[in-house]
């Protein structure tokens, strides 16, 4: 039964993707890509990837749609030309498709327990995580514990992308720093009673849920990335309801740039603390008397750093696009 539902979702994914590519109006493409992300999140959940489904739903169907819409507000809505060399590429794409389909016959069937990917390192992780780290969520334990160094690199990629957007879209202050300059009267849903009221009512619950997901990431699906996306979604809702200028007064630009730096600094700081206490970089077992308690503490702090930076980056990006519009 679940297999049939999964097959149905996959077909809907293909149809939505074709709709995205063929839409002339970019607004339609953006809304359809939000629906596409939601279907993808459902597909991930059917494939037993609960953490990834949560992230895809929060980031893809939530924050990405708002970011793309706020960027579209600064650009032309419609696609003007019909496309270059479409026939040539359609032929090349069909040939590549046939090659890929031919190669996929050799791949293991969906769910085969003897596939090579399940026999190499994964059983070791599933057996040793309760003993070495003692955390129910194996994905968080691997992400922040066993492979914490990779996550540090990914965090710095997010940090760099956020800084890049700020360099491109924020304006330079007289004193040489970066600043966002929205107009003082700020747009927003000020005259629209119902969305504004409901928005104000719901924002605290969204932020509370983001905190829950952050700290519950050890015991269930969750963690820093999802929590950062959810927190930024809540504050974006506040900015949409109350106006861009008000939101910047509440959570000012300086706080946002501070958050972006603080999270990455916390992560590296935990690693350095482990070095100074006698272990290797990011070896959390030296952080407390009991190695397992040390692992818990290290993973908690590291995920907190990830959550702070991700929410700071996503909010800074949103504010960069939104404040730019009001300069026109």
């Amino acid at each position: 039964m679940t297999v049939l539902f999964g097959a149905f979702l996959l077909t809907m994914l293909v149809i939505t993707a074709i709709g995205i590519v063929r839409a002339q109006h970019l607004f339609v493409s953006v809304v359809l890509s939000g629906i596409y992300s939601l279907q993808m999140a459902g597909m991930f959940f059917i494939l037993d990837a609960a953490d990834v489904a949560l992230t895809e739903a929060a980031v893809g169907a939530g924050v990405a749609t708002v970011l793309m819409l706020s960027a579209l507000a600064l650009l032309d809505d419609r696609e003007r030309s019909a496309g270059l060399k479409r026939l040539l590429f359609a032929v090349v794409a069909s040939a590549t498709l046939i090659l890929l389909l031919h190669a996929s016959v050799d791949m293991p069937s969906l769910g085969d327990p003897n596939a090579p990917v399940h026999t190499h390192v994964a059983p070791w992780y599933l057996e040793e995580t309760p003993r070495l780290i003692g955390m129910p969520n194996v994905v968080t334990a691997i992400l922040a514990g066993f492979r914490g160094y990779d996550t540090l690199g990914e965090l710095f990629v997010i940090f760099t992308a956020g800084t890049g957007v700020l360099f491109l879209l924020a304006s330079v202050h007289e004193r040489g720093g970066l600043a966002l300059l929205p107009s003082p009267d700020g747009t927003g849903l000020r005259h629209h009673l119902v969305p504004r009221l409901i928005g104000r009512f719901i924002v605290p619950f969204i932020v509370l849920f983001a905190l829950y997901v952050q700290f519950h990431g050890d015991f269930g699906p969750g963690g820093g990335f999802q929590a950062g996306a959810l927190a930024s979604a809540g504050i974006v809702l506040y900015a949409l309801a109350e106006g861009e200028a008000t939101a910047l007064k509440v959570l000012s630009f300086r706080v946002l740039t501070g958050m972006i730096a603080a999270g990455a600094l916390l992560y590296v700081g935990v690693g350095l603390a482990c070095l100074m206490l006698g272990g290797t970089f990011l070896d959390y077992s030296v952080l407390a008397d009991d190695p397992i308690a040390g692992q818990h503490l290290g993973i908690l702090l590291v995920e907190l750093g990830v959550g702070i930076t991700v929410s700071g980056v996503l909010l800074a990006i949103f504010h960069s696009f939104a404040a730019r519009e009001q300069r026109r």
Binding site: A17, A50, V59, M68, E127, L143, E154
Partner: protein, 119 residues
């Protein structure tokens, strides 16, 4: 059910090429970026399809005694989790570049941009 064994991989191939088609053959820069994000999510689908074990469940081991149950593979999920957020950050960076291009040239179509550069 034999047909559905590899259906995930076929859908992955179709989505990959749909995204790539949008990147190559559409002239509008924003459409190219959206096509790139479809391409990325197709790769995510491939990785997560590989992690499913028939009869398994999400890899959350509540009690240590439960370690004998069948769990799905946690490793591809770890890779894709960070990749999703990195993907959205780079999409935002690309959109910022497109906004600046629009402000400098007045258009976001690739053929018009090439013509303006030649002049």
């Amino acid at each position: 059910m034999h047909f559905l064994d590899h259906y995930n991989y076929w859908v992955f191939a179709v989505l990959l090429l749909t995204g790539l088609y949008a990147v190559v053959s559409r002239a509008n820069l924003v459409k190219k970026l959206i096509g790139l994000s479809i391409f990325q999510s197709a790769v995510f689908l491939l990785y997560i399809s590989m992690d499913k074990v028939a009869g398994g469940t999400a890899p959350i081991i509540i009690q240590p005694e439960d370690a004998d149950r069948l769990y799905s593979n946690p490793l591809p999920q770890v890779l894709i989790l960070t990749a999703i957020v990195v993907g959205i950050s780079t999409l935002a960076l690309g959109l910022a570049i497109v906004v600046r291009i629009n402000e400098a040239y007045g258009t976001t179509e690739e053929n018009e941009l090439a013509r303006m550069d030649e002049e």
